[in-house]
C-alpha cells in the first residue's frame, strides 16, 4: 500500500513540477480547470448519458407543465409529483458516477492541501514545535534533546505535558531553504524537514510513525521508525490565505468555484450530460 501511495505522490510531483514557475493563484486556477475537465471525462465514461438526458428532459417537460397549466391544480400536483420522481431517478443515475468522480478529486485535494493549506515561514517568524512520545508517562521526557542549528533558534525551554506525552518548544526560523529540525534520543538522531520557500512546495507539518490514514494525508516524509521513542514531530506552519483580486479567500473556495465553472462551462465542448 505504501508503494501505491508513493506512486501517487510521485505522479503528482511530476504534474505539479511545472506549476512551481507560475504564480500560485494561477497554478491553483490551472489545477482547478484541469480537475473540472477530469471530472467531466470521468463522469461521462461512468454514467449512462442517454438515460440522464432523458430524465432531465422529463423534468423540464413537467416544469413546463407547471407554467402552462397553472390554473389546473390537478395537473400541477401531478407535475410536482413527477418532478420529484424524476429527480429521484436523476440522483440514482448520477450518484455512482459522482462517487467515482470524487476519488480522483479527493486525491487532488489531498495534494493541493499540503501545497496550499500552509505557507512557509518568513525569516524571523516564530512557531511551535511539538514532539509526542510513546506511552503516557513523563519518564522519557529527559531522554529527548532538541538541538539548535544555524537555521532556527530554540527560544524556550521545553514545555512538558505529561498527560499527553508531549514536549513543546518555540523556535524562530532564521533562514530560507530546506532544513531539518534535529532531535537526539540516546545517541540516535531524528529529523523533521522544514521547507522555507516562496514557491509552491509541499509543506508537511508532521512527521510520524506509519499509519495508512496519516500517511495518505501527510505523505511527504518517511515515517519514523517503529522502535523510536518519538511518535511524531510537528511544526505549526501558518495557514495560507490566498489573495484573489484583492480578496483574502481560502484556497478551497477558489478550487471549488473554478473547477465547477470549468466543468459546467466545458460540458458542451466534451459533450457531457450532467
Amino acid at each position: 500500500m505504501v508503494f501505491v501511495l508513493k506512486v501517487i505522490n510521485f505522479f503528482f510531483q511530476i504534474i505539479f513540477y511545472p506549476l512551481k514557475f507560475v504564480p500560485e493563484i494561477w497554478a491553483l486556477i490551472i489545477v482547478s480547470v484541469v480537475t473540472g475537465i477530469v471530472m467531466l471525462v470521468v463522469f461521462r465514461h461512468t454514467s449512462n448519458q442517454k438515460a440522464i438526458k432523458k430524465t432531465k428532459d422529463r423534468i423540464k417537460a413537467h416544469i413546463l407543465e407547471l407554467v402552462l397549466y397553472k390554473d389546473n391544480f390537478k395537473i400541477i400536483f401531478k407535475a410536482i409529483g413527477s418532478i420529484f420522481r424524476y429527480n429521484g431517478r436523476y440522483l440514482r443515475q448520477t450518484i455512482i458516477p459522482l462517487v467515482i468522480v470524487f476519488i480522483p478529486v479527493i486525491l487532488i485535494l489531498i495534494q493541493l492541501n499540503y501545497r496550499y493549506q500552509f505557507r512557509s515561514f518568513y525569516p524571523g517568524e516564530r512557531t511551535l514545535v511539538k514532539v509526542k512520545l510513546n506511552g503516557e508517562t513523563s519518564e522519557n521526557f529527559d531522554k529527548i534533546k532538541f538541538l539548535n542549528s544555524p537555521n532556527y533558534r530554540i527560544e524556550t525551554p521545553a514545555l512538558r505535558i505529561s498527560g499527553a506525552s508531549e514536549l513543546d518548544w518555540r523556535v524562530q526560523i532564521l533562514n530560507a531553504g530546506k532544513f531539518d529540525l534535529i532531535f537526539e534520543n540516546g545517541g540516535d538522531t531524528i529529523k523533521k524537514a522544514v521547507n522555507r520557500t516562496d514557491r509552491i512546495s509541499v509543506l508537511s507539518p508532521k512527521r510520524q510513525k506509519f499509519s495508512f490514514a496519516e500517511y495518505l494525508f501527510c505523505p511527504t516524509e518517511k515515517p519514523i521508525a517503529e522502535n523510536k521513542l518519538i511518535k511524531s514531530i510537528e511544526i505549526l506552519y501558518p495557514h495560507k490565505r490566498m489573495n484573489v483580486f484583492g480578496f483574502n479567500v481560502h484556497w478551497l473556495v477558489v478550487f471549488f468555484v473554478v473547477s465547477l465553472i470549468a466543468a459546467f462551462g466545458l460540458k458542451g465542448v466534451f459533450h457531457v450530460e450532467i
Binding site: L128, E155, L159, R170, L236
Partner: protein
C-alpha cells in the same frame, strides 16, 4: 488605494463625468495638472508639557524640536477649561469652547434621571425586541452616538474636497460622518463596552479583591500543571439571560521550566515567564453560526512558579472586522490589512493594571513601549503615503505615561520609586526623545507647501494630594446626606438627601447647583443660584490644605462667565481649577463621600492635568511663523482651514495664529 476605494472612485468618477460633463474638465484636479496643493501635517501629542519640552531641548536630546523653537515657531498653547482631554480635543476639533461643543468633563449627568455617563458618547440599545424562547430578537437597530456638537475642521475642508486623514483623535467616537479617513481614539471602548478591562488569572488572591476599575481578577486552580479558564466577552444581548459571551482557554505550565502554553480557539501560544504574545484574534459567538464578535488580545505570562499569574489585555475591537463603528471609509480594515492587528481601545496604555498592583513599574513600561512602537510603525507608513490635504496623527503615550511615571523625574514625589530600573526612571525622557524622532520623520515630508503644526492639549503637574470635593460640599453645608455616618459606600449619590442639597459635585472639575426645574428634585430657586455659586467660588478659593497651609484651589470659574455658545445651559455651574499638586479624588468624582476632605495620593496615577488651566498649558509649534502670543486650542481649527485659503465657519474662533498663507 484599496481595491474597493478604487472601484468606488471609478464608479463615482464615472457618474460624475456623466452628470457634470464639461464642468469636470473646466477644473481638473491639481494632481492632473502638476499644480502643487497645500498640505497640513499635525502631530497631536497628548500631554506634552512646555516646561519639560524646554528642559529636554536644553539637555540636547530633542534636536529637531530645537530647530523649530530656534526658528521662533513655539508658544505655550492655551488649554481648555477644564483641561481634560475630551474637552480640550473637542475645542481643537470644532474651534469652539465647551459652551459651543457641549463637552464639559469626562463625565456628564442626566439631571432628570441622575445617572452619570461618558460625556462624548451615547449608547442606545434597540428599543423593540421580541423574545423567542431563550433568544431576544431586536426589531430595530441600536445606536451609538457622538455627543460632541459642532462641525469638525475636516468636515469643513471636505466641502472643498480637501482630503483628510485623522488618526485616533480623541472625542471622535463614533467617528463623525465624513468622507475623510478617520479612526476613533480616546473614547473607543473594548469589546466589553468599557474603556479597557484587563483580565488577570492567578491562583494567589490579590489584596485589592477580585474586581476593580479597569480590571478583573479570575481566581484559577492549577491541576496537574493545567489551568482552565475563560475569556470574558461582551454581554450577549441576543440571549434572554444577558450573560457575557465567553471563550474557554487552557494553559499548560511546565513542572519546572518557567514556560506556559496557552491554547485558545485552536491557536497555540508558547511563552516564557515575562513574555508577551503577539495579538491573538478571538471570536465570541453571539448566535451560533450566525453572529460573532471578533476581538484581539495579548497574553502576558507574569509568573509561572510558584504561583500562576497570567495577564490578558482588554479585548480590543478587531480592526479587521470591527463590531462597532470605529472608523470611516473602512479605514480600520485598511490599516489592519496593511499593519496587522493593533490597539483600537481609546486608552491603550494599561494604567489600571499598574494602579491596582497587577503590573510593576517595569511591566507597565514594557507594555507602554509596545503601544508607542505600534503607533509609530503606523505613523511612519501612513506619513510616507500622505500626499495632499490634512494629516493628523495622535500620540497618546506622553499623556498616559506621564500620569503614571512622571513621578520618576521628581524625587520629592511620595510615590517616587528609587529602586526602579534606569529604563523606567528615564521613561519620560525616552518618550520626548521618541517624539523628536517622529518630528525628524515628519520634517522629511515638509516642503514649502506644507504647514506643520505640533500641539498638545495640556501640560502636566504633580498630583500629591487628593481633594474630596464631595465631602467638602457636605462639610460646607451644600450637599446633605441621608446617613452622615455612611459616607464611602453605596452607589452613585444614593446617600444624598436631595431635599436638602443645594449643590453637588460630579466629574473631575464640576459642581452643579441642585436647581429647580432642571434637576429631578431641584430645590434651589434660579434667582438664588447666582448667590450660591458666588459663595461656593469664594469659599473654594480660600480652601487650604491643613497639612501645609497651601491653597488647594487656584481658581474657580463660573460657567456663565467662562463659556459661550448654544450649550452653556448644560454646563456645570462651577468649574474647579485645582492648584498644582492637588486634584479631586477618584472616589469623589462619582458621588461618594470619603470621611476626610483631603488625603495623600497613594495611586500610581500620580501626575495630572485636570487642574487650573493656567497651570497646565499645552505646546504649539509650527514651521510657519507664529504671530499670536497666546494661541489657544480653539484657535487652531480655523487656522488649519485657512491654510487652504478657505473661510472658517462664523462660529469658529478665528484668531490669527500663523503668518499668512503665501503659496498655493
Amino acid at each position: 488605494m484599496k481595491r474597493r476605494d478604487f472601484i468606488k472612485n471609478v464608479a463615482v468618477g464615472s457618474a460624475g463625468v456623466a452628470v457634470s460633463g464639461v464642468k469636470l474638465f473646466a477644473s481638473p484636479p491639481a494632481i492632473w495638472t502638476g499644480q502643487r496643493t497645500n498640505k497640513v501635517i499635525i502631530l497631536g501629542i497628548d500631554g506634552m508639557d512646555p516646561r519639560l519640552l524646554v528642559r529636554f531641548v536644553n539637555e540636547g536630546i530633542m534636536p529637531n524640536f530645537k530647530k523649530l523653537i530656534d526658528r521662533g515657531g513655539f508658544r505655550k498653547l492655551g488649554t481648555s477649561l477644564p483641561p481634560q482631554s475630551p474637552v480640550a480635543w473637542s475645542n481643537f476639533i470644532t474651534g469652539k469652547n465647551p459652551g459651543g461643543h457641549g463637552i464639559f468633563d469626562f463625565i456628564h449627568r442626566d439631571p432628570l434621571e441622575f445617572v452619570p455617563y461618558l460625556s462624548t458618547t451615547g449608547v442606545h440599545p434597540p428599543s423593540k425586541m421580541i423574545s423567542l424562547g431563550d433568544w431576544r430578537i431586536p426589531l430595530n437597530g441600536g445606536k451609538i452616538e457622538l455627543l460632541r456638537k459642532g462641525q469638525a475642521f475636516w468636515q469643513v475642508l471636505e466641502e472643498k474636497d480637501i482630503p483628510s486623514l485623522v488618526f485616533k483623535i480623541p472625542s471622535n467616537y463614533p467617528p463623525t460622518d465624513s468622507n475623510a479617513k478617520t479612526i476613533s481614539g480616546m473614547g473607543t471602548p473594548d469589546v466589553l463596552g468599557t474603556y479597557g478591562t484587563f483580565s488577570y488569572y492567578t491562583d494567589i488572591p490579590l489584596k485589592n479583591g477580585e474586581e476593580f476599575g479597569g480590571g478583573k481578577v479570575y481566581p484559577v486552580e492549577v491541576v496537574d500543571h493545567k489551568v482552565k479558564a475563560h475569556l470574558k466577552g461582551p454581554v450577549n444581548s441576543f440571549h434572554a439571560d444577558q450573560k457575557p459571551a465567553t471563550i474557554p482557554f487552557v494553559a499548560y505550565r511546565d513542572a519546572v521550566n518557567p514556560v506556559v502554553k496557552i491554547i485558545v480557539q485552536g491557536k497555540e501560544i508558547l511563552l516564557k515567564e515575562g513574555e508577551w504574545s503577539d495579538w491573538i484574534r478571538v471570536e465570541f459567538e453571539m448566535i451560533p453560526y450566525v453572529s460573532k464578535v471578533s476581538g484581539i488580545c495579548r497574553f502576558y505570562v507574569k509568573q509561572v512558579h510558584p504561583y500562576f499569574k497570567l495577564y490578558v489585555t482588554p479585548i480590543n475591537v478587531d480592526p479587521a472586522n470591527p463590531a462597532i463603528p470605529i472608523s470611516t471609509g473602512g479605514y480600520a480594515e485598511e490599516l489592519a490589512e496593511k499593519y496587522g492587528a493593533f490597539y483600537t481601545q481609546g486608552f491603550p496604555e494599561d494604567t489600571k493594571a499598574l494602579s491596582n498592583g497587577v503590573f510593576s513599574d517595569e511591566e507597565y513600561w514594557e507594555q507602554a513601549k509596545f503601544v508607542l512602537r505600534e503607533r509609530k510603525n503606523i505613523f511612519s507608513h501612513e506619513l510616507n503615503n500622505f500626499h495632499e490635504g490634512v494629516f493628523f496623527f495622535y500620540f497618546s503615550s506622553i499623556d498616559q505615561d506621564s500620569h503614571m511615571l512622571l513621578r520618576m523625574l521628581d524625587p520629592s514625589h511620595p510615590l517616587y520609586n528609587p529602586k526602579a530600573s534606569p529604563d523606567v526612571k528615564n521613561a519620560i525622557r525616552h518618550l520626548y526623545k521618541e517624539m523628536d524622532e517622529a518630528l525628524a520623520q515628519t520634517m522629511a515630508k515638509v516642503d514649502d507647501h506644507t504647514t506643520l503644526m505640533i500641539l498638545s492639549d495640556h501640560g502636566f503637574a504633580p498630583f500629591y494630594r487628593e481633594f474630596h470635593l464631595s465631602t467638602w460640599l457636605v462639610k460646607n453645608g451644600y450637599t446633605a446626606l441621608l446617613d452622615p455616618e455612611r459616607k464611602d459606600e453605596g452607589d452613585y449619590y444614593d446617600n444624598v438627601d436631595w431635599d436638602r442639597t443645594k449643590a453637588y459635585a460630579l466629574g473631575l472639575n464640576a459642581i452643579y447647583i441642585n436647581l429647580q426645574d432642571r434637576e429631578f428634585n431641584g430645590i434651589v430657586d434660579p434667582f438664588e443660584a447666582p448667590k450660591i455659586v458666588a459663595e461656593i467660588k469664594e469659599k473654594l478659593q480660600q480652601a487650604k490644605d491643613p497639612a501645609n497651609g497651601k491653597k488647594i484651589i487656584r481658581n474657580a470659574y463660573l460657567a456663565q462667565e467662562a463659556y459661550q455658545g448654544a450649550y452653556v445651559d448644560l454646563a456645570p455651574d462651577v468649574i474647579v481649577g485645582y492648584a498644582p499638586g492637588y486634584r479631586i479624588s477618584d472616589t469623589a468624582t462619582l458621588g461618594k463621600f470619603p470621611k476626610t476632605v483631603i488625603g495623600n495620593r497613594k495611586d500610581k496615577w500620580s501626575s495630572d492635568h485636570c487642574i487650573d488651566p493656567n497651570s497646565v498649558p499645552g505646546v504649539f509649534l509650527s514651521n510657519k511663523r507664529i504671530v499670536a502670543n497666546d494661541p489657544a486650542l480653539e484657535d487652531l481649527a480655523a487656522t488649519i482651514i485657512r491654510q487652504f485659503r478657505m473661510e472658517p465657519p462664523e462660529d469658529m474662533s478665528d484668531k490669527k495664529i500663523l503668518e499668512d498663507v503665501q503659496n498655493i
